[in-house]
């Protein structure tokens, strides 16, 4: 069995690299091809890449561990939150954002609010996605350690190198085409797993742990705050995720972008929730075959002990696929945001500066400057992600904190910028972003646990906030950001004015010698 799993994973990884390298010829030295796939993703590609991007190691491995330990809603909150995000994005944001011809999400903040807002938004996004990358590399490292026989560090370096190679060469084209394979593998593995378990062991739901126990969503003693916060942080907070929006920008039309979000949302539930159901049955399955999970991830034990090798390979490939697809999107999205929105490289027409006079060098002749800089930025981003994975023990806690900070600071300016642009001033956006984000950081320092994980990094002892407060900061911080945004917006909308965008996302100038408007 070990040999089949080993070679099955090796073949899968080689296919990913091969596909990535093969489609890299589509880049043609153009950053628009590289970052948003030439804005030409048709519906199947756009939907598959959104689905694959939303499912990561958290939504599969993390999901099963949380479900087995705390019940259905603790684990299923992850895929359900991600699916909610894609659904809301499809409903409210995909069409207008696709129409604006943006390349990265911070571009919106620049057009609507200006350069300072753009840089702050980009830095928050880069930090949160570096941690997301680190979290997925951790999962890949453990998986390689268990099933390929590497050390954890070797596993992290190996999976980092694989993602780096095909993302560096093929950009979003490579990401999208490999995502299709990854989505199909993950879908097949997930469905096959639940069918196999149902037919051979039966679905057993321990009392009080199943989806019908809504106490997990209403009773704080059963973790309701944390479960609801997970759904809210992912469902609302991920709307400002650079990787999702990059795919929305890459769709070939606003209608395709919207449909892809809806399809991706459904796919996320179809792939993710079966893992929760299987995890509920894991206790009875393992006891029926006389095995204890011990310290190891429940899913890994199930795959090693309770299912045939072909199914284990399929499911493991699905989990690796989830890590790869989220990791590649994180590397590409953060590198592009760093190059374009932090460093300010956006002259798409200029030629690459690192190409030597004879056309040699690491970049092709004709590569534009943004393409070149994005590729260069991938090196530090990948190293940073691997560093987080290997050196920072609290990656999981920092990850949820980073996404909470993004939720608290970035969502309100995006929503008002699109749907209430006449009051969305730059001072309001800046004030809302900073107060929302710092409020969340303040709670991090004051509350002893973050999503159930003890805060051993930076906790200020106090008698006001106890562990029972955990989960609430996810809601409070964005509300504080919203209140400050509205206050400053109404105070400045007449004296400062707003940047108005037309239907295509271009800023409009209206000046008038006379005041009647």
């Amino acid at each position: 069995m070990a040999g089949l799993i080993f070679w099955g994973l090796i073949v899968f990884l080689l296919v990913m690299i091969g596909v990535g390298l093969f489609v890299s010829k589509k880049i043609n030295g153009d950053s628009v091809n590289y970052i948003v796939a030439g804005r030409g993703l048709i519906l199947p590609l756009a939907a598959a890449t959104l689905m694959a991007q939303s499912l990561d190691a958290n939504a599969t491995l993390g999901n099963t561990d949380l479900t087995a330990q705390f019940g259905f809603w603790a684990g299923a909150a992850l895929p359900i939150g991600l699916a909610t995000c894609l659904f809301l994005t499809g409903l409210f944001f995909a069409k207008p954002m696709n129409r604006m011809n943006l390349m990265t999400l911070p571009d919106f903040y620049r057009r609507k609010y200006g350069r300072v807002t753009e840089v702050i938004a980009a830095l928050i996004m880069v930090l949160s996605f570096s941690l997301l990358l680190g979290g997925n590399l951790v999962a890949g490292g453990f998986l390689f350690e268990v099933f390929l026989g590497t050390t954890f560090t070797q596993g992290v370096v190996l999976i980092s190198a694989i993602i780096f190679v095909y993302t560096l060469t093929g950009g979003l084209f490579a990401v999208a085409y490999t995502d299709v394979i990854q989505a199909v593998v993950a879908l097949t593995g997930s469905v096959a797993l639940i069918v196999y378990v149902a037919l051979n062991y039966g679905i057993t739901i321990p009392a009080g742990m199943g989806p019908a126990n809504l106490g997990q969503l209403t009773d704080p003693a059963q973790g309701a705050y944390i479960n609801l916060a997970t759904i809210a942080a992912l469902g609302l907070g991920d709307i400002v995720a650079i990787d999702f929006m990059e795919r929305v920008f890459a769709a070939d039309s606003p209608e395709t972008a919207r449909k892809a979000c809806f399809t991706g949302s459904a796919g996320t539930v179809i792939i993710g929730v079966p893992f929760s159901i299987v995890a509920l049955s894991s206790g009875s399955i393992l006891s029926s075959i006389g095995v204890e999970a011990g310290e190891q991830a429940v899913l890994y034990v199930l795959l090693q002990e309770a299912v045939p090798p072909w199914l284990a390979v399929l499911v493991l490939a699905g989990i690796v696929a989830a890590s790869l697809s989220t990791g590649d999107g994180a590397i590409l999205g953060t590198s592009a945001a760093l190059a374009r929105n932090v460093l300010g490289v956006r002259d798409e027409g200029s030629h690459g500066e690192t190409v030597l006079a004879d056309g040699s060098g690491i970049l092709n002749e004709g590569s534009d400057k943004l393409l070149a800089t994005t590729r260069v930025m991938m090196v530090p981003i990948t190293i940073l992600g691997a560093f987080f994975a290997i050196r920072v023990s609290a990656t999981g806690m920092l990850l949820v904190l980073a996404f909470d900070v993004a939720f608290a600071g970035l969502l309100v300016p995006l929503v008002f910028g699109i749907y209430k642009p006449d009051i969305a001033t730059t001072p309001a956006a800046l004030a809302g972003m900073l107060t929302g984000s710092f409020t969340r950081l303040g709670f991090f320092v004051l509350v002893p646990t973050t999503y159930g994980i003890p805060n051993n990094l930076l906790f200020v002892q106090n008698d006001i906030f106890t562990a029972s407060f955990d989960g609430l900061p996810t809601f409070i911080a964005p509300i504080v950001g919203l209140a400050v945004f509205l206050g400053v917006a109404y105070a400045t909308k007449d004296s400062y004015g707003t940047r108005t965008l037309d239907r295509d996302g271009r800023r409009t100038v209206v000046a008038a010698g006379e005041d009647e408007d």
């Binding site: 200006g114 730059t426 001072p427 105070a491 400045t492 909308k493 007449d494 004296s495 400062y496 004015g497 707003t498 940047r499 108005t500 037309d502 271009r506 800023r507 409009t508 100038v509 209206v510 000046a511 008038a512 010698g513 006379e514 005041d515 408007d517």
Partner: protein, 149 residues
């Protein structure tokens, strides 16, 4: 290390000013507009040229409308437009303050085609602030341009 300095003044050399004035006169009574292409010189913005932009407003004698697209020069730049009615203020109107999405805005007051006043404004943290506008002679000395309240 040198700290970044805020822009305190706009300088318009004589030849750029003449070219601006000609555009305003040519398009009168339509409101004329465009961008001053600038360079930083310490705490001053010095205009190096100007890029006229067509007025897309339905009522071009009372409004100036356009979109910010590839015609706009790189930063630093100053958006300018003319007020062509005697009833108009020489400074910014409420519409100007609310709907000009630029860091710097120059208002040219030209009620009978001749430019009588040059007033430049800069977006602050919460509101617009006025900056002095100077002309520049060939010997590089500067002098204040006409400013009406």
């Amino acid at each position: 290390m040198q700290l970044p300095r805020f822009v305190r003044r706009l300088v318009i050399p004589a030849q750029v000013r003449r070219s601006l004035d000609r555009q305003v006169q040519r398009e009168h009574p339509t409101e004329a507009g465009g961008y001053l292409d600038c360079r930083r010189a310490g705490n001053r913005l010095v205009a190096t040229g100007h890029v006229p932009v067509d007025n897309d407003a339905a009522d071009p004698t009372r409004r100036f409308e356009t979109t910010v697209d590839e015609r706009a020069p790189a930063f630093p730049r100053v958006f300018y437009h003319s007020h062509t009615s005697a009833a108009s203020p020489a400074g910014m109107t409420n519409v100007d303050r609310k709907r000009i999405p630029e860091q710097h805005s120059l208002v040219l007051f030209a009620p009978d085609s001749e430019v009588y006043s040059y007033r430049c404004f800069k977006r602050g943290l919460a509101r617009w602030h006025e900056l002095p506008v100077c002309g520049q002679r060939l010997d590089a000395t500067t002098y204040p341009l006409p400013r009406l309240r």
